[in-house]
């Protein structure tokens, strides 16, 4: 019975986030204060349902909800919404909600699709390191997501300033359609397509085989994402061409600073995440490092954000260059976090089993 309730609560959560996304975007375009307040109210309601769903899940499965894709995504989106609401309370940055809330919605809806119900822990995960390693890794992803958001807005605000707030529709359409295409393709690959897992009889290596329907699903996902991106980009560009839009975005100074700070916090976190992971790997599998795809990609993530800090501190990079790195970084983070589970196989792939 409790399982059912958890599922209903989570569906309510996702629907609330969807409506809230629309309201936040409308708030950004129209600058209606009532829309902003409604958005916040919906988000608080959604967060409440979300919290209840996670608690029921925890009670039912008997372990922290961090063991599979659904659980980690559900916790991740929960963290994003909570963190965002706190930031909104402190800094009055409702404009950012137009990006953050849809992101939380997308992540939560992917979690919804992936939900396979509570399951007992795989023996390898039965350790207190699960808590430490996963929560630190998630925290670093959260910081990188924040750096991405600030970097994204930096690029928009910088473009607006360079163009003197005139004729910015095309730039918005391009930016949003790239984003939409990426999300759509990823949904197609990661969620809708179900490739066959082929094991090479000689080398014992895993590889994926995509069928015709899978290809259609992937292309379809990309197409839908692109279409939504073009539409949103057009609307956002129209909105941004209106005078007064500048006021609703923070200044370049603040955006650059937030992006930098977030990475300055996230980098040590991901470092600790990798170290705790290695310690746990030694306990679980007897080796600190085995070049498993997840390990390789976290190293790439680490190097990438290391490069951000390095270019900034020693070469004096800042502004747009840094913002572009922060935006690209999230692609690597997402691949490390999710892509590896679906596209590559290795020791970390508990989810696709």
């Amino acid at each position: 019975m409790i399982v059912k309730l958890e599922e209903i609560l989570f569906i309510v959560t996702v629907l609330t986030y969807l409506v809230a996304s629309g309201v936040y975007i409308w708030h950004l375009i129209s600058n209606s204060q009532k829309a902003g307040q409604l958005g916040t109210m919906l988000l608080v309601l959604g967060l409440f349902a979300h919290t209840m769903a996670l608690i029921f899940r925890w009670v039912d499965s008997g372990h922290a909800p961090m063991s599979d894709s659904y659980e980690s995504l559900a916790v991740f989106s929960w963290g994003i919404v909570l963190f965002y609401l706190i930031m909104e309370r402190i800094y009055a940055i409702r404009a950012a909600g137009a990006v953050v809330v849809p992101t939380a919605f997308i992540i939560a809806s992917i979690a919804l699709v992936l939900n396979k119900g509570p399951n007992p822990l795989v023996p390898a995960l039965q350790s207190y390191w699960l808590w430490i390693h996963v929560s630190i890794a998630m925290l670093s992803y959260g910081f990188f997501a924040l750096a991405f958001g600030a970097g994204f807005f930096y690029i928009i605000q910088e473009h607006l300033l360079k163009k003197h707030y005139q004729n910015v529709v095309i730039a918005f359409v391009i930016m949003f359609s790239v984003l939409g295409l990426a999300v759509g393709l990823w949904l197609g690959f990661g969620v809708w397509a179900h490739p066959l897992d082929i094991v090479d009889p000689v080398t014992k290596e895993h590889s994926n085989q995509y069928s015709g329907t899978d290809i259609i699903k992937i292309i379809g996902g990309g197409g839908i994402g692109l279409a939504i991106g073009v539409l949103l980009g057009f609307l956002a560009g129209k909105g941004a061409s209106k005078p007064g839009f500048a006021r609703r975005l923070p200044s370049l100074d603040v955006l650059d600073e937030v992006s930098y700070r977030a990475i300055a916090f996230g980098f040590p976190m991901v470092t600790i995440g990798i170290i705790t992971g290695a310690i746990w790997a030694d306990k679980a599998w007897g080796r600190y490092w085995s070049w498993d795809p997840k390990e390789t990609w976290s190293l790439i993530t680490w190097l990438f954000y290391g490069a951000y800090l390095h270019t900034r501190l020693t070469w004096g990079w800042r502004g747009r260059h840094s913002a572009v790195i922060a935006v690209l970084g999230i692609v690597i983070v997402l691949f490390t976090y999710l892509g590896v589970n679906y596209l590559l196989s290795g020791l970390h792939t508990y989810a696709s089993a």
Binding site: N31, Q33, Q157, L161, K162, H164, Y165, Q166, K242, P243, G244, A246, R247, L249, P250, S251, L252, D253, V254, G316, W317, R318, G319, R320, H321
Partner: protein, 441 residues
């Protein structure tokens, strides 16, 4: 009782006249005392800013006060009454309410959407309140007007988009640097426009001002004025890395700053952004500078275009504000209507009549028809007598009070004590106003 406003403003009167009839605190007090003293004026609030002098009054009779206000204002300003009358406007009833709300919403201001007027209204009202020249009606009207002004500011974006070139420049600078405090400005050329923009920037907490001009003496004069520093014009490129904001308005026929120079300066300041404002015609700064990373260039055309677009946006917001004002005027006039004496007395009489009839019917029913016609009439007459006797004094008193200062207090008390709610809408309007008053305290 009649609400009215008489005044002059920047649209109706030249600045010389406005200056003369501008009212200091003492003059406000003198004017109020003069008018309250047996001129049929019951309440008064004078409002005087650099763009307007207005006198809001509650008078016992329609049109009352108009002549007296004009005469008093002319006396205080030492101007001829005729000249003043020509430039003045007079609104009564809802018209006066609407006028105050439009002033509070800064729709009547020289720069629509400016923010100071709210504070000025608040000060004028406080002063009048202190001088005890207000009562129920103007108290509510002014408190409500401040609420309406606040509502317009929060529900519309009327004050959001700057409409002058220098304020657009400041706003854009703030979109690059969150806080202009402690920043350094480099002024190139000592023109009027750059001076104006610099003044605007100084009010935002700019720390350093450097001035470069072809004639050093003029640079030094301007630098002295802003407590800045004059720099040798030929070395201005060396000073460029020190500047966060550059304002250029030289008369030079060719570019004063080129792309390469800006790129070098940015490297020397570790890519900290520089905001360029080019208000010279022909332009002083190579437009290619805008393509340099972390350099932001706005020229006079860009700023003018943004100011123009902002003015259009403000006009749209002003339409929204007018709608809000329509609603609020309606609310206020409903509350006002509920304070009318005649309907209040009628309502009181109707209520008493209903009670009388019900009670008489009840009493007669107890006698089971054992009463003669005569007895019945006697009982009816007695009941009617009691009602009339009791209501006589309050009725007379209400009628008398309605022509007195603060008379609305009686009407309102009567309505509340006897729960005379009139038509529902009226009560609604009154309750809203009541809430506003409570918030004030």
């Amino acid at each position: 009782m009649h609400l009215a406003v008489l005044g002059i403003n920047h649209k109706t009167a030249p600045v010389e006249l406005r200056e003369k009839v501008s009212l200091s605190e003492e003059k406000c007090g003198a004017l109020s005392r003069r008018l309250l003293d047996g001129n049929g004026v019951l309440e008064i609030v004078p409002l005087s800013t650099c763009n307007r002098t207005e006198v809001y009054v509650v008078a016992a009779r329609p049109e009352a006060g108009q002549k007296e206000i004009l005469a008093s204002l002319a006396l205080i300003g030492e101007v001829p009454v005729d000249g003043l009358e020509e430039c003045s406007y007079f609104h009564e009833g809802d018209g006066a309410v609407r006028h105050l709300y439009r002033v509070a919403g800064s729709l009547d201001s020289m720069v629509v959407g400016e923010a100071q007027i709210m504070g000025q209204i608040k000060d004028a009202y406080r002063l009048a309140h202190k001088q005890e020249s207000t009562s129920v009606l103007l108290n509510r009207l002014f408190r409500h007007a401040l609420e309406v002004g606040k509502r317009i500011r929060t529900e519309t974006a009327i004050g959001e988009n700057p409409v002058s070139v220098s304020s657009v420049a400041v706003e854009m600078a703030k979109k690059v640097f969150e806080d202009l405090g402690g920043k350094a400005v480099l002024l190139l050329g000592a023109g009027k426009m750059s001076e104006l923009t610099a003044t605007h920037l100084l009010s935002q907490g700019i720390a350093t001002i450097l001035v470069g001009n072809r004639t050093l003496s003029r640079a030094e004069a301007l630098a002295d004025k802003f407590h800045g520093k004059a720099i040798p014009y030929d070395d201005l490129v060396d000073y460029l890395p020190l500047a966060d904001i550059v304002i250029s308005s030289t008369g030079s026929p060719h570019y004063v700053l080129r792309k390469g120079e800006v790129e070098r300066a940015l490297r020397r300041r570790h890519n900290l952004p520089i905001f360029f404002i080019d208000i010279a015609v022909p332009r002083d700064i190579d437009p290619g500078v805008n393509d340099v990373n972390n350099a932001f260039l706005f020229d006079i055309d860009d700023l003018n275009e943004m100011a123009r677009a902002n003015a259009v946006a403000r006009a749209k917001e002003a339409e929204k504000a007018e709608k809000i004002i329509n609603q609020e005027v309606e609310n206020f006039s409903q509350w006002l209507a509920s304070l009318d004496v005649v309907p209040t007395i009628t309502a009181l009489r109707e209520m008493a009549e209903a009670v009388r009839q019900a009670e008489v019917a009840k009493a007669l029913a107890r006698f089971d028809g054992n009463l003669s016609e005569k007895d019945r009439n006697r009982i009816e007459a007695m009941a009617a007598g009691i009602v009339n006797k009791i209501l006589h004094e309050p009725t007379v008193e209400l009628k008398r009070a309605s022509n007195e200062r603060g008379g609305y207090l009686y009407v309102e008390s009567m309505r509340r004590l006897f729960k005379l709610n009139g038509h529902k809408k009226t009560a609604e309007g009154a309750r809203q106003l009541h809430h506003l008053e409570k918030d004030e305290h």
